[in-house]
Structure formats: C-alpha cells, structure tokens
Amino acid sequence: MTKRVDRRKFLAGGASIATAGLAGCALTGSGSSDTIKLGILEDQSGNFALVGSPKHKASLLAIEEINNNGGINGQQIEYFDPDPQSNNQRYLELTRRMINQRNVDALWAGYSSATRETIREPAIDPNDQLYFYTTQYEGGVCDKNVFAVGPTARQQLGIVLPYLVEEYGSDIYTIAADYNFGQLSADWVKVLADENDANVIGEEFIPLSNSEFSSTISRIQDADPDFVMSMLVGSNHTSFYKQKASAGLDIPIGTSTAMAQGYEHLRLDPPAMSNIYAGVNYMEEVPTNRNTKEGGFVDRYYEKFPDAPYLNEEAENNYFSIYMYKRAVEQAGTTDQEEVKAALESGITYPAPEAPDGEEIKLVPETHHVNHHMWVMRADEEHNVEAVDDRVIDETFLKDTVGCDLTSKDEETQYTPQDYYEEAG
C-alpha cells in the first residue's frame, strides 16, 4: 500500500515536471492566487532599450527587496515582464494579455507618451486597470485608472527655467523634438517664460529623424539668446550636443530631456554636455543620503546589476511607485483594484531616493500625480554633474489650473496647455 502511494506521488511529480516543461515561460503565469501579480512592460530591446532597461531593472530591484522583506501583507510578489521591444502594437497586445490572461493586480508600462496613449484608451480604461505611467512627460493626464507618477514638463521646466533666467538673462531660444511631447513642452517654456518675465525669442522644432544640426546652430547664433531650452529627444538628437561643442557654441542650455534619461554626460566625450542644466526629479548623481550613501539606492542597484550602465530618472520612478503601491495595498488590506486606487487616493507618501532625509514625496489624491522634490543638475567641462538648486515643486496644472479631481469625478482625459494659456499655442 505504501508503495502504491509512493508510485502515485512519483507519477504526480513526473507529470508536473512535464507540464512545467511544456508550459515553458508560462510556468510563472500559472502561479497561485496567494501571490500579488504585477505586470512590468518596459523596453529591453528596440529604440527605447537604452532608457527603458533601467526602468525594468529598478522594478525588479524593488520587487526583490519587498519579497525578501516578507512581501506585501505576507504575500509574495509575482511579476510578468515580457519585452515589448519598443513596439506600440506589441505593447497593446501585451497589455491585453496582462489584464485578461495574467489578471495582474497593477501594471507598469511604457516609456513614451505615444505608448501610453496606445494602451490607455483601448486597454487600460475599458478594464479599469490600475496603471502606473512613470516617465517624465508633458503632463495633463487626468484619468481615474492612471497614476502618472513621473514629473511633468511644468515641474521639470519649472525648476530649471527660473534658475537660468536668474543666472543668465531673459532671452530664451527653444529647440524641441517635433512631436506631441516636444510641442507641448515648448508651450510650457512660453508659459513659464511669461511667469518669470522672460521671452522666447526663437523656437525651432526638429524632426526626430534629423541628426545634422549645423543650420540649427547657426540660427541660434544669429538670434543670440541668453540661454537655450532644449527638449530634444532620442539618439539622433543627441548629435546636437556633440556638434554644438565642435562649432564652439558655448551657451548655457536648460533641458528636461538630456542626461537624466539617456546619460549623455557619460556616453559623449567632454565637453559636449558642458554647461547643460537638467531639471529633473532624479538622476544617479542626485546627492541625497538615501541615494548615494553607502548601502543607498545606487549601491543596491549596482549590487544587483553590476553591468548596468546607468540608473536613470524613470528607474527611480518605477522603484518608488512600486513601494507606494505596497503601502496602498497594506492600507487597503486587499489587492482589489478599486480599493487600492482609493488607498492611493488617501495621500500616500514615500521616502524616495530623490528626497533629502526626513522628507517624503507625496502622491496627490485628486490628480494621481506626484509633488516631486526637483533638482537642477549641472554638467561642467569634464562632465562632472553637481546639484545647483533643489526644492519641492507641486504639480499645479491639473490641480489648480484645470481643477482635475479624480476623488470626486471619474475622468479619462488629457488636458493641454493651449486650452488654458494664451501664450501657448
């Protein structure tokens, strides 16, 4: 009798091994219901791999830390991280798979605004899926299901533009990538210039496929501004910084896109990024104890990923938002998405690496955005990066100007500055 039981056990074991073998990577998907399931869709290949893979890695770091410390309410986190390959069509397919087949409790997905919009209306909103979008972006998304926890253009430009006006003068020349993000960011430059008694004396939008900047450089020299605001995007546009250095264009440049995401100060030879000021909530060099002290965020990241090239702005956003999600689930006592959203709307805070000791960044209940601790980071001729200014900047566009209040009204809209400011548009 005992023998038969043993044989049955053996058969059962063999069968489950065989199923596991057949199922392949689906093994993780058939996980038990007592785990918390997170979907992490970040680009590990394709055009956005350079900036997307740090997000992917930092997400895994947060999940590992949480699991090693007992999980969330005693439940371990199980994650699904197929590679969307920088392809929006694939993003849509994978998002649907995450929601319908994996039944994820929360989803982190996408680098660009184009990706967010590809999945938001067709997949996120119809399923009321709890979704974290963590890239710094143009701002304005007021959506019950979306927690856009990266800094907005108004926050990023709002720390660096006033600083440069104060330091260098009031004539601004804007160069921006010629698509949704660049156009809206340029509008924000105009709004902020107006608020700071400065003027935009020239503006140029550069197609994403362009990598030849001699005429742009010559036009900037003709206009002779006090500083340039650059919202250039992507590797083609990175050539601008090399070419302006070789042309001897030595002008301060403020930016919301360079250095913090694609670490141009490490990839390009000095002095390409000399005198460039980035307005960011985070980059690897941000000098807080939580970030750079021994055993801090940077140390933990490189201990898990010794070959990683950089820890970028969006990586920190993925990291702290997974911890914010943990706090919300613990508070709600359940992973039920509506109850977790309600908990996230209760004023969740977290001691993120971007904030100095004793300070926690706050998720604003009404707008699902974060009041970030913002930094102005300057690169010198040797590409050493130092902080020259920092303070908390609230998200004000949705909160005050638009009056978005998701705690009382269920909305799924994106607002743009043109609707509210004369200078924009």
Binding site: D224, S246, R267, D269, P309
Partner: protein
Amino acid sequence: MAIGLDLLVQFFPNFASIVLAATGLAIIFGIMGVINLAHGEFIMVGAFSTSLAYNGGIPFLPIDALPGLSRLIGAMLFAALVTALFGLLVERTIISGAVPNWISERTLGRPVVTPLYDRLLDSMVATWGLSLIMVQTFRNVFGNSLSGVPIPFGELSYGNSSIGLYQVLLAGVAAFVLIALYLVFVRTDYGMRARATIQNESMAQSLGVNTERTYMATFALGSGLAGLTGALYTPLLSIEPGLGSVFLVDAFVAVVVGGSSVVVGTLLSGGLLGIVDTLFSNVYGTFAGRIALLIVAIVLIRFIPQGLSSLVERLRERRLEVD
C-alpha cells in the same frame, strides 16, 4: 552678404552628408540592380568598427595606441575595410547565394537560391530582413550604445556664426570619393568590366567577363563606401545600433533623383538637394528643409523619372548627333 556666406558654409556639410550617404547605395543599385535596404546598417557597421578600433576594442590591433590624428584615420580605414569584407560575406551568402548553393549542391544535388541580381523587389525584402537582424544582433552583442569618438579639428568662425571645421572638410572628402570613383570606372579594368556588365550582361559574359566576380567586387566596393561613410560620421553621431536609419532616406532620395549613373548622378543630386536643404533649413528651419527636399524629389521624379543623370546623357547624345 552675411546670409550668402552663411548659406555657402552651411552647404558643405549638407552636400557631404547626401553624397556620402548615397554613393555606396548608388553603386550597388546601378550596377547590380539590387536595392540594399540594409545600406544604413552597413553604415552602422562602419561607425561601430571605427568606435571600437579608436577606443581599443579590437584585439591584436593597437589602433588606439597611434598618435594624434593617425589614430582616427587608422580607425576609419580599418572600418571601411571591415565593412567591405562584411559586404563580401553578405554578397556570397545572401545576394548571390553562392555559399548556400555550394552546400546544397553537395547535399541535395541542386541549388536552392536564385541570385538576387536585377530582382529589385526580392532584393528589398531580403536586405530589409538583414537590416532588422543586424540592428538587434548589434544591440545584443554591443549593448545600446558605444562610447564615441571626439570631433577632430576646431571650429570655423565666420561673421557672428561658427561651425565645426570637420563638417566643412567632409565636403572635400565627398568630392574626393566621387573623383576616385570616376577614375575607378573609367581607368581600371574592373571599371571597364563593370560598365560592360551594366550595358549587356550576356554579351559581356560571352566576351570573357566574369560577371559574377564583377558583382562580387561591386558589392564589396559599395559596402566599403558605406563603411567609410559610417566611419566619417562616427565623430558627429551618438553611436547606437539604429543610427543607419538616418542615412537611408537621404540616400534613397539622392539615388532616385540622381539616376542610374553613379558619379554624375550622385554629384548632381547631392549638389541640387544640398542647395535646397541648406536654403530652406537656414531660412525657415530644419523641418522646412526636410519638406523642401522631399517636394523637390517628388517633382523631379514626376518630370525626370530617369533621374538627373539621364538629362546629361540626353545632352551628350544630342551633341553626338549634331556632330
């Protein structure tokens, strides 16, 4: 006056980028009837080789130990050579199918691949697939970006503007490449065989020209020129696997506008498109420059579908008739 000077100086880098992007593509298209959609990726191979050689990433080849400018020039020549050899490999395996056919004749007893010569659409599909494979393979092997190469020489100041001297000098290199190609085609045995092969392949064969070897050499030459372009632009660009796509559009527009004659066509289209791009980019901005360039290309294709070089040929024929 200042504007005129500005336009003149700005013309040089635009002319250089169009001509250098187009020559390799033009040679392969003009002589072999193969549209190489992986042209941008061949340029990328050149850029990656330059960056690796310059920064000491090539074992047993201490190019990074060379002094001063010779380090950069050594890395660039190495890159052109590597890309030419890579092109040779692609020609033998994918374009001509010689290697797979050699194997299949010994195992299956019959060839499996028909050469892609003069099969425009088929060659586009095959080389497009190749380009996708190359981009992701390079990403997997070398990562998302490579360390770059500093831009040599200083700046050239004129009026209250300035430009990198290197970008202006590239126009000289582009002109040199065109002259060298002209000499290769009219003064060398290879050039004569190549021209004979274009005019009438079967007649050339019956006169003893080994057209297959001509095709092989042509593809290697075109690839080597793509590699040289990648090498020359390495200092100006950020080095990542997708960089070839920037060149592909310019190259195609230039080849279509220029027509089948490699040297004359590329020179004329580089000159014309360079002027249009410079004028509109400078006065109305980069975006307007791109639009103007494409509009000119569309108009020219509508009215001179054979390309600018066909105009020159028609003129020459008319003069011969008069004589």
